[in-house]
C-alpha cells in the first residue's frame, strides 16, 4: 500500500510549521491558509487538529467533481487536483469527510479554485512531515 501522512492531534502543538512549509513550497510565499494541510486551532475552545487529504481509496471528492479536475491516480494512489480545470463549484469541499480542501485565490488569473494536499509526489517525504517538530505527522 502507498505511504500516507498520518496525523495525531494529541501531539500537535498548533505551530503551523507544516502549513507554512506547504504554502512556501507551492506558492513561494507563506500563508498557512494557502496550504494542503491546515490546522484548525481554537485557543478558546481548546483544540488543535490537522486537516489533510487522506487520499481515500474511493474519494468522494472525485465522485463529486463536476469538471474532471479531481482524479484518483491509480498508479501512485494519490488524489490529484488540476487547478486549470477547476471551475470553483466547491462540490469537493462539501463532500470531503476530512475538511481537507481549501479555497485559494489565483491572483494572476483573478479566480478562486480548490486546493488540497498533492502528496508531494516529487519528494521522498512530504514537506509537512519533514518540518513537524513533534512527530504529530508521520509518513508510513
Amino acid at each position: 500500500m502507498a505511504k500516507k501522512v498520518y496525523a495525531s492531534f494529541r501531539l500537535c502543538t498548533g505551530c503551523e510549521l507544516c502549513s507554512s512549509a506547504c504554502s512556501v513550497m507551492n506558492f513561494g510565499l507563506n500563508n498557512p491558509r494557502r496550504s494542503g494541510i491546515t490546522i484548525k486551532r481554537d485557543l478558546f475552545e481548546r483544540y488543535e487538529v490537522q486537516h489533510i487529504c487522506r487520499h481515500c481509496e474511493e474519494p468522494p471528492c472525485v465522485e463529486a467533481c463536476i469538471s474532471g479536475a479531481m482524479i484518483k491516480n491509480t498508479e501512485n494512489g494519490l488524489v490529484e487536483h488540476d487547478e486549470a480545470k477547476c471551475v470553483g463549484c466547491w462540490s469537493c469541499m462539501m463532500v470531503c469527510p476530512y475538511d481537507a480542501i481549501v479555497q485559494i485565490r489565483l491572483e494572476a488569473e483573478d479566480r478562486i479554485v480548490a486546493f488540497k494536499c498533492d502528496g508531494c509526489p516529487e519528494r521522498d517525504t512530504p514537506a509537512c512531515v519533514e518540518v513537524c517538530p513533534t512527530e504529530a505527522l508521520v509518513y508510513q
Binding site: 502543538t13 498548533g14 505551530c15 503551523e16 510549521l17 507554512s20 512549509a21 504554502s23 512556501v24 513550497m25 507551492n26 506558492f27 513561494g28 510565499l29 507563506n30 500563508n31 498557512p32 491558509r33 494557502r34 481554537d42 485557543l43 478558546f44 481548546r46 488543535e48 487547478e83 485565490r105 489565483l106 491572483e107 494572476a108 488569473e109 514537506a127 519533514e130 518540518v131 517538530p133 513533534t134
Partner: protein, 632 residues
C-alpha cells in the same frame, strides 16, 4: 534587491500563479489618526530597513520621529506602534513575534513590549507590517485590518468585556479566522500596567500599553490575512526549517522548556536563594511552585506561531503560568498553594493586567500594611501575605479602579499617595516594577542589566546569566570578546555581558523571533548572528554580516537611550531598588549578599564607556546627529 526595495520579484514558484504585488519584499506602514479618522500609508525605505530591520528596531525609529517629548502618555498625543519583525510570519522557526511600542503610562519613559502568539504573523498575512496609531477616537473603536485594507469600526458592544470575552464575541461576529490584540477592563480603566492580549494569554505585557489603547478608546486591533509573506528562496525553505528545527530540538534546554515551560527556572533560583518572596523581604520560598508540581495543572503544551519549542501551557482553565507568574503571583505575595497561584494567573490575564507589575505592586502594598503606611480603614481590608481571597479581590478592584485598587492602579506613582519614604520598599527601576522573579542581589551582571534596561526594571532587554553556568573561560571569551570573571558575585567585567546581551536581544526583537531559541538567553548555544544571516537570506535575499548586526544593535540601544534622555532620564535613574543595596539577602546561597553602591557605580561607568555614552549616560552630540541624519 534594488536600492528602492520596490523591484517586482521574478516569480519563482513552480505554479507561476502569483501576482507580482504579492511577491515583493517591502516594509509598509499604515498611519491611523483616530481623532480625525484618517488613514495613510507609505513604505519604509530599504535603507532604513537595513539600518533597523523591523520589529523593535523600526518601532524605535518611528517612535523617536513621531513621539513629542514630555507628553502625557494617556493623551491623544501618544504614539502607539504595532510593528512586525523582519522575519515575523515568514514561517521560519519561531518567527511569531512582534513589538508594541509607545511612551509608557507606567514609567513615563520608553514603553516597548514584545509579544508571541499568532497576531503578528496574521498582520503580515494581511499585508501590513506596521501600524502607527495616534489621536483618540470619539467612541469605543476597533481597527479592522484585512488584506491591506483598514477600517475603523464601532466597538461599543465590546466595551466592558474582559480579554477572553471580547475575543470570543469578535470571533462570533466576524468569523473564527481572525487574530485579535485587545484590552480587558484594566486597559479601559487606564490601569497603568494594563497589557494587550492576543489569544488566551499571549501578552504585550510590560509598560501599560493596554492603558494607552484604553486612552485612545481603542478596544482591539483585528487582523485577517489572505495574502502572505513572500519568501525569496522558497526552494531552500523546507531544508532550512528542518536544519534549524533539528539543531534546536537537540538542545537540552529547548527539550526541557518544551516539557514544562519556564517554571523550570523556579527550582534552580530557589536553590540559589533568588526568588523574590514577600516583596523581597525574603529570597526563597516553598517547593510547591516547582515546575513538576505546577505541571500537574497542565493539560497540554502549546506553540506560538512556527515555534519548535512549545513552552506554553494550557492549564485546566486558561493558559500559563510562566515562571514569572509562579513567583510574582505566588512567592512574592506569599501564595504557596499551586492551584491558587494558577487561578490568579488566569484572572490576571482575563482582566488584562501585567502579572509582573500586579504581583510587585500588591506585594508592596502588603508590606506597607505591615509597616503601618496602610491600615484596615485606608486599605478597606486586612492585607496579609498568603491571603488568596484578598489578592484576588484586590486584582479585580485594581482593574475596576475601586477603593485601594484605584490607588494601586497608578503603579509606582502611588508613592505620591503613600509618601516618598514608601519608595524604599518598592522593587522598581525607572518607575517600572521589576519583571523577572530574580532577586538580583547575588548575580551582579543581572543587577546591572535591570538597572540600565531601556524600559525600566526588566530582564528581557539583556538577562546576562551565563556567568552562573561555570562555562570554560575560553568559551566565555569567545562569546563576549574579552575574558569574563566567572564569579557571579564579582563586579568585574560584567558590563561586557550586559552590552553583548543587550545587543543581540535588540536584534532578536527586531527580527520577530523568540529569545528562547537564541544564543545567550538560557544557553551559550542556539541561534546567533550567523543563523540570523542565513534565515534573513532565505526569507528576503538581503545580506547582513555580524558587523552589520552589531551596528544595528548599537543604533537601536542608542536611539532608545535618546528617547529616554528626552524624557529626562540620566545616570541617577540607572539604579536599583534601595533594598538591593542596603539589605543583605537572608537565605540559602545568596545569604549575606547585597549590591555595593560604589562598585555598582564603577560597573555602570564601565557600561557607559562601552556604549560610548558620557558619564551622565547620554550618547554624544555627534552620535545623536548621526542617528537623526537617517530621518533625511
Amino acid at each position: 534587491m534594488t536600492k528602492d526595495g520596490d523591484r517586482e520579484r521574478e516569480l519563482k514558484n513552480s505554479r507561476g500563479i502569483l501576482a507580482p504585488e504579492l511577491t515583493r519584499m517591502r516594509s509598509n506602514v499604515y498611519q491611523i489618526d483616530l481623532s480625525k479618522g484618517e488613514i495613510k500609508s507609505f513604505d519604509t525605505p530599504l535603507e532604513i530597513v537595513r539600518s533597523y530591520l523591523g520589529g523593535r528596531g523600526l518601532n524605535m525609529y518611528y517612535l523617536y520621529k513621531y513621539l513629542k517629548p514630555k507628553i502625557d502618555p494617556l493623551s491623544p498625543d501618544n504614539v502607539l506602534i504595532f510593528g512586525t519583525g523582519l522575519l515575523t510570519g515568514s514561517g521560519l522557526p519561531n518567527s511569531g513575534r512582534f513589538n508594541i511600542s509607545a511612551k509608557s503610562p507606567e514609567s513615563s519613559v520608553l514603553g516597548d513590549s514584545n509579544c508571541g502568539g499568532f497576531f503578528g504573523p496574521e498582520l503580515r498575512f494581511a499585508g501590513v507590517d506596521r501600524l502607527i496609531i495616534t489621536g483618540r477616537a470619539e467612541k469605543p473603536t476597533y481597527v479592522y485590518v484585512e488584506d491591506g485594507n483598514i477600517e475603523l469600526r464601532e466597538a461599543g458592544r465590546y466595551w466592558g468585556l474582559n480579554t477572553l470575552e471580547v475575543q470570543k464575541s469578535l470571533r462570533e461576529d466576524l468569523g473564527r479566522d481572525i487574530q485579535i490584540a485587545c484590552i480587558g477592563q484594566a486597559g479601559e480603566n487606564l490601569v497603568r500596567f494594563a497589557n494587550i492580549i492576543n489569544g488566551v494569554k499571549n501578552a504585550a505585557g510590560r509598560g501599560g500599553l493596554g492603558a494607552v489603547m484604553g486612552s485612545k478608546n481603542l478596544k482591539a486591533v483585528v487582523a485577517r490575512g489572505n495574502l502572505g509573506v513572500p519568501i525569496a528562496h522558497p526552494e531552500q525553505f523546507v531544508e532550512k526549517v528542518r536544519e534549524i528545527r533539528d539543531y534546536l530540538t537537540s538542545s537540552k534546554i529547548v527539550q526541557t522548556l518544551g516539557r514544562v515551560g519556564t517554571p523550570l527556572l523556579y527550582e534552580v533560583s530557589n536553590h540559589l536563594g533568588a526568588i523574590r518572596t514577600n516583596n523581597s523581604q525574603l529570597n526563597a520560598f516553598e517547593d510547591t511552585l516547582d515546575a513538576e508540581v505546577v505541571h500537574q495543572y497542565v493539560e497540554k503544551m502549546l506553540s506560538c506561531y512556527a515555534c519548535v519549542v512549545h513552552c506554553r501551557h494550557r492549564n485546566y482553565g486558561g493558559e500559563g503560568p510562566e515562571y514569572t507568574t509562579t513567583v510574582l503571583l505566588g512567592a512574592n505575595v506569599g501564595i504557596s498553594d499551586t492551584q491558587q497561584m494558577v487561578e490568579l494567573n488566569n484572572l490576571c490575564n482575563d482582566l488584562g493586567m501585567d502579572v509582573s507589575s500586579t504581583g510587585t505592586i500588591i506585594a508592596w502594598a502588603i508590606e506597607l500594611f505591615q509597616k503601618g503606611y496602610l491600615n484596615r480603614k485606608s486599605a478597606g481590608r486586612e492585607l496579609e501575605f498568603g491571603d488568596y481571597e484578598m489578592v484576588r479581590s484586590l486584582m479585580t478592584d485594581i482593574s475596576r479602579r475601586t477603593g485601594l485598587g484605584d490607588v494601586l492602579a497608578e503603579s509606582t506613582r502611588a508613592v505620591k499617595h503613600f509618601g516618598e519614604e514608601t519608595k524604599d520598599f518598592l522593587i522598581a527601576v525607572k518607575g517600572l516594577p521589576q519583571s523577572d522573579p530574580h532577586d538580583c542581589r547575588y548575580l551582579k551582571s543581572f543587577a546591572l542589566g535591570i538597572a540600565v534596561a531601556s524600559r525600566g526594571a526588566d530582564h528581557l532587554r539583556n538577562r546576562p546569566t551565563l556567568d552562573i553556568m561555570d562555562l570554560p573561560p575560553e568559551l566565555m571569551k569567545k562569546i563576549y570578546g574579552v575574558p569574563i570573571d566567572n564569579n557571579p558575585t564579582s563586579y568585574r567585567t560584567k558590563e561586557h555581558m550586559v552590552y553583548f546581551h543587550e545587543n543581540i536581544y535588540s536584534i532578536i526583537d527586531s527580527l520577530g523571533i523568540c529569545k528562547f531559541v537564541c544564543h545567550g538567553f538560557n544557553s551559550p548555544r542556539l541561534l546567533g548572528y550567523k543563523h540570523f544571516s542565513d534565515l534573513i537570506k532565505v526569507a528576503t535575499d538581503l545580506d547582513f554580516t555580524r558587523k552589520d548586526f552589531e551596528e544595528i544593535a548599537q543604533r537601536i540601544v542608542d536611539l532608545e537611550r535618546m528617547i529616554n534622555n528626552r524624557e529626562g532620564i540620566t545616570r541617577k535613574d540607572d539604579t536599583l531598588p534601595r533594598r538591593y543595596f542596603d539589605e543583605p539577602m537572608k537565605l540559602r546561597l545568596g545569604k549575606g549578599h547585597r549590591i555595593d553602591r560604589e562598585k555598582f557605580q564603577e560597573m555602570l561607568s564601565g557600561y557607559y564607556r562601552l556604549r560610548g555614552w558620557d558619564e551622565n549616560g547620554s550618547p554624544s552630540p555627534e552620535r545623536v546627529r548621526q542617528l537623526e541624519s537617517l530621518y533625511g
